[in-house]
Subunit: 230 residues, 2 copies
DNA sequence: ATTTGTGAATCGGTTCACAGCG
DNA sequence: CGCTGTGAACCGATTCACAAAT
């Protein structure tokens, strides 16, 4: 392997490997096989090997991967060797929880500003950061070199928040608002959507209930349950 | 179309269509084409048509889809015609934010219990719900017919939380803890992982920076910038 | 003996393009 | 004529299976 372009699906799994490897390193593990890394990351070993092969040939046949070395390679690939400054837009329940979230810095993500439109919130402080005026977003992004915008507004305000982030020059947005955002092609957008996740669970839960109903020989009517017991 | 089994990718998009259709209905829109629904949901129209075709032939050629009828069909498919009771395990920053989150009930998801192991939190109330003892989980799940467990504990406690949910009979789990959970095959598991999302953004952000560096003719050295201005 | 790295086969999902129908 | 519904072609990602490396 020695081409550019790592598949999207692989990129999405690298953080998983990274986290597992961090745990290994803490336990003092020196080398790890694709099999054991796969277990830790909750995938299969063929996937691990194929994924890692996109980064280069960092394993040793018959032995496995050196934990420290692989950690370094993945962190370099993911851009975790530097810090990234983030701004949280919208300081409601969720925004506040995110601001307070330790382990945000679980590798170099620093919340350097909180902004909101609500006069009542501006000037108050949350987790040692002062809430600032949404209108100052452009200046804040420039001055503090913000590269990631976190949208934690209500749905109705999210597109506006995104537009302002984009025009301030932010090229990466993480959206927590329950709405579809439109951004230019050169801006990366990821979303975290609680109610969508719940609805997906609901689909499968319902399907299970439906299957159960078919399987079970309707034991609720007295006659039916009697007839099966002669 | 008239087979069972809706593709996973389709299931994951149904909530998106559902939300868009709800907005349409509020605006008083009667019918909608796959093209316009696609725009609202942020996908393309071929995908919309294929996805909806798995549910049945609910459109009218030359016209589009009836908004109300489609809403009903999707909500039935997603199991949104009934309420689902949820328990939140772990009442830290995130658990509290989730408990307070309005629009949780954005279609029938009701938080009926909060549990934690911390004696200091048990008995306190959060958003009109009393925090209860994690040890009572099994009883709570049974008594209140909880079908969805939301894990909002620290990483180290998450597997234990999941194990207890599973042994209490919960078959759907939404994990917010930054760790891989192991659950039996018959349990549905979804995860929401902030730091993974940030790391994915970081990857693409870094890649953009690397590209820029190649494009730009290193204007930081005085000699270089001078030589371009004769 | 063991485990990687990777072509080849396979699978699931997306997109194309148009026949079918209102 | 317009828009849906869907086979067929396509594409990316996963899995298989084994030769290569130590």
């Amino acid at each position: 392997m020695r081409e550019r372009a790592i598949p999207e699906a692989t990129v999405a799994r690298l953080p998983l490997y990274y986290r597992s490897l961090l745990e290994m390193a803490e336990h003092g593990t020196q080398t790890i096989s694709s099999e054991r890394l796969a277990d830790a990351a909750g995938v299969n070993s063929a996937k691990v090997r194929k994924d890692l092969s996109y980064l280069g040939s960092y394993g040793t046949r018959g032995v496995g991967y050196d934990v420290e070395y692989l950690l370094y390679q993945i962190s370099r690939e993911l851009g975790l060797t530097q810090d990234w400054n983030c701004v949280i837009v919208g300081v409601g329940n969720l925004g506040r929880a995110l601001a307070n979230y330790r382990g945000f810095g679980e590798r170099g993500f620093r919340v350097v500003a909180l902004v909101d439109i609500d006069e009542g919130k501006i000037g108050k402080s949350v987790d040692s950061l002062m809430v600032e005026d949404f209108d100052d977003l452009e200046r804040i992004v420039k001055e503090r070199q913000v590269s990631i915008g976190i949208v934690a507004t209500p749905a109705g305000a999210a597109q506006d928040a995104a537009d302002r982030l984009v025009s301030a020059g932010v090229k990466s947005i993480l959206n927590f608002a329950p709405t579809v955002l439109q951004v230019p092609d050169d801006v990366s957008l990821r979303k975290v959507d609680l109610s969508i996740e719940l609805q997906i669970l609901s689909f499968y839960e319902q399907r299970k209930a439906a299957l159960d109903a078919v399987r079970r020989p309707r034991r609720l009517t007295a006659s039916a349950s009697k007839s099966t017991r002669p």
